[in-house]
């Protein structure tokens, strides 16, 4: 299992809003596919998938706020 974290986005940015998941739970994902879009201040930011596998669980859904370092979802590798 691989956890997908909200990474450091820059100075003064401590959180972001989940604005769009590109995949639904259970769907296959390839490494580096756009996995989830987050919105902060005047920017949208696409987080790529860290590995290939299946999106096992979405933890933070569209509209939820994530802090830097928080888990957004879980991938099952393979």
């Amino acid at each position: 299992m691989t956890k997908v974290y909200l990474p450091e986005l820059g100075e003064n940015i401590t959180k972001a809003t989940v604005s769009y998941w590109f995949f639904q739970e259970g769907e296959k994902v390839n490494e580096k596919d756009d996995l989830v879009e987050l919105t902060t201040d005047k920017a949208t930011f696409n987080l790529p998938s860290p590995c290939s596998g299946r999106l096992a669980q979405i933890i933070l859904h569209e509209g939820d706020t994530a802090n830097v370092g928080e888990v957004l979802g879980i991938l099952e590798e393979g």
Partner: protein, 213 residues
């Protein structure tokens, strides 16, 4: 960082999005370099990811009569208006060659606009915590970006012509009750957009070569 600059001229919003996508794909595929796309748009209202439809104040029928399109945009921010009286800059920049820091990139975009306006003797300012560039509490430049694989798209619009400002009344710009202004309004004389494009490119080159916030 270094970049090439391309002037797309007066271009349909959707076509400009297509050019951004092509440039992005070239940079991602390591076949292209960071590029600053300059353009002007036909009248269009765009809605960013944080946009509320309530920030469009005029019914769609009326917008159509005025020839104003409405499109969603994969960028941050709320509602904005673009028209031929604005100079729009889309930096499709690979932040691997700059700094992977969204906050720093937004501040550097503001610095580029402030530098550009300073060249005309216009002392524009930031208004933290808001993003954008202001002239005496009136907004002269809006910013909204997207980032994929740490490559930026969308960008900056600067109001140049004062005659085009009327269409801002159709929206609550950036979701706020604010007034907008233009370079012509600040200077009190006529500015031809073509004549200032090189100044904007030079401002971007200066600021991105030596960024400070």
């Amino acid at each position: 960082m270094e970049f090439e600059a391309i002037d797309l001229g007066l271009i349909d919003y959707r076509r400009a999005e297509g050019r951004q996508e092509e440039t992005f794909a070239a940079i991602k595929g390591r076949k292209g370099r960071s590029t600053l796309l300059l353009c002007q748009h036909h009248p269009v209202i765009t809605l960013g990811r944080s946009a509320s439809i309530n920030n469009i104040l005029v019914p769609e029928k009326e917008l159509k009569k005025k020839g104003i399109d409405v499109f969603p945009a994969r960028r941050g921010g709320d509602v904005t208006y673009h028209g031929p009286g604005q100079l729009v800059a889309y930096p499709i920049f690979n932040l691997d060659d700059f700094r992977k820091d969204i906050y720093f990139f937004l501040r550097t975009l503001e610095s580029a606009v402030i530098e550009f306006l300073a060249g005309f003797g216009v002392n524009a300012q930031r208004c933290p915590p808001l993003t954008g560039v202001w002239m005496d509490k009136e907004k002269i430049s809006s910013i909204g970006i997207g980032i994929r694989n740490w490559i930026t798209f969308h960008g900056v619009s600067i109001n140049i012509k004062k005659d085009d400002l009327g269409n801002f009344q159709a929206i609550r710009p950036c979701g706020m009750d604010i007034q907008v202004t233009s370079l012509e309004s600040c200077l009190g004389n006529n500015i031809e957009i073509d004549s200032v494009k090189e100044d904007l490119i030079n401002a971007f080159r200066k600021v991105f070569a030596d960024p400070q916030t």
